[in-house]
Symmetry: C2
Subunit: 201 residues, 2 copies
């Protein structure tokens, strides 16, 4: 806005909202207006929810997840199968796997992937903590659920080496055709992997 | 999320973020994660900006705009031309016109349009306050910048009747081809209006 048309508090709210992923400068204005119109139902509650999250959120010292308690809800859940650890790059991947709801395991968040070009080495990730968790015993399987990128696969191989001799089986996610996916639109690498890993009907 | 995978504070933050226009359930999760990761740069400042806006925002008693002061920044600005009042349906329209930056006038926010089917009559809008402002004198022109919908045009005609005899010229926005618009994609009504209102080169 070229001229000042509203108080600095509203302009600041719009500027900060524009930094939220999914919102841009234009939708931030629309969002701000909607929040202001729904002051009591939305703006107030959202302000306090953010303040509360800001105050309470911490990183789980066991697995690297973010939560309002340490250990996190998942690590503290006694019904979770502690014998299986799913290793993910980031908390968003953990949330995605939980939404899929296929496993009742625990997690380990690496905090990134090995990337020499970006200066990310093993000590910048939580690989040492993972090795300690597995070495402490009771872990039967470590599932490497890293992204299917070059860096992700490099990281997976490095972790596999580090976990050798600790008695846990190390596995990775299957490659293949996405459920609901059309072959015509898939890349050659995925199609080749799906053919190699074909299973009986 | 079927199982609880994070503390109630984080789930509540996601639920509230999902109600912000432009964000849905999926992007609310991504936004929450981003906010948590950028705790100090984004989550904290946004929480306090929202709390401040929530506390200070009020409706301008003169024009119906929302701002953190009453009268609002525009009404309080002595450099604004008080002889011209632009009438809009909602605050979002006021912001849009200000972005266009074509006029240095004051505004009057109706708070909606006449809509007998939805039970919205003249007393539900700020039409009486507009008539008082014009009757108080000093207003040379009232520009009706309502939407080009049936309800908007009905409201414009009603306001024109109410302002008759008060000495102010009542005008409306021009209809025509949007700047940068292609004729091929325009509806017949707009094209006909653009032809009727053709101007010399």
């Amino acid at each position: 806005m070229s001229k000042r048309i509203a108080g600095p508090e509203i302009e600041r709210l719009i500027q900060l909202l524009a930094k939220v992923p999914g919102l841009g400068p234009r939708s931030a204005r629309r969002a701000a207006l909607h929040l202001i119109r729904k002051k009591d139902q939305l703006l107030g509650p959202l302000a306090s929810a953010m303040a509360e999250a800001n105050e309470k959120v911490r990183v789980c010292s066991a697995c690297g997840n973010v939560d309002t308690s340490d250990p996190c809800t998942i690590c503290a859940d006694a019904r979770r199968d502690g014998a299986t650890i799913i290793v993910v790059e980031a908390v968003g991947d953990l949330w995605a796997l939980e939404r899929a709801g296929a496993m009742n395991a625990r997690y380990h968040v690496l905090g990134g992937v090995l990337s020499p070009l970006d200066g990310v080495g093993p000590d910048d990730l939580t690989i040492r903590q993972l090795v300690s968790r597995v070495a402490a015993g009771g872990v039967g399987e470590v599932i490497l659920a890293v992204n299917a990128t070059v860096e992700g696969q490099t990281t997976a191989h490095y972790i596999t080496d580090q976990l050798e001799g600790l008695g846990a089986r190390v596995t990775r996610l299957a490659h293949g055709v996405p459920v609901g996916g059309e072959l015509d639109y898939l890349d050659d690498g995925t199609l080749a992997a799906a053919l190699r890993s074909r299973t009986g009907m």
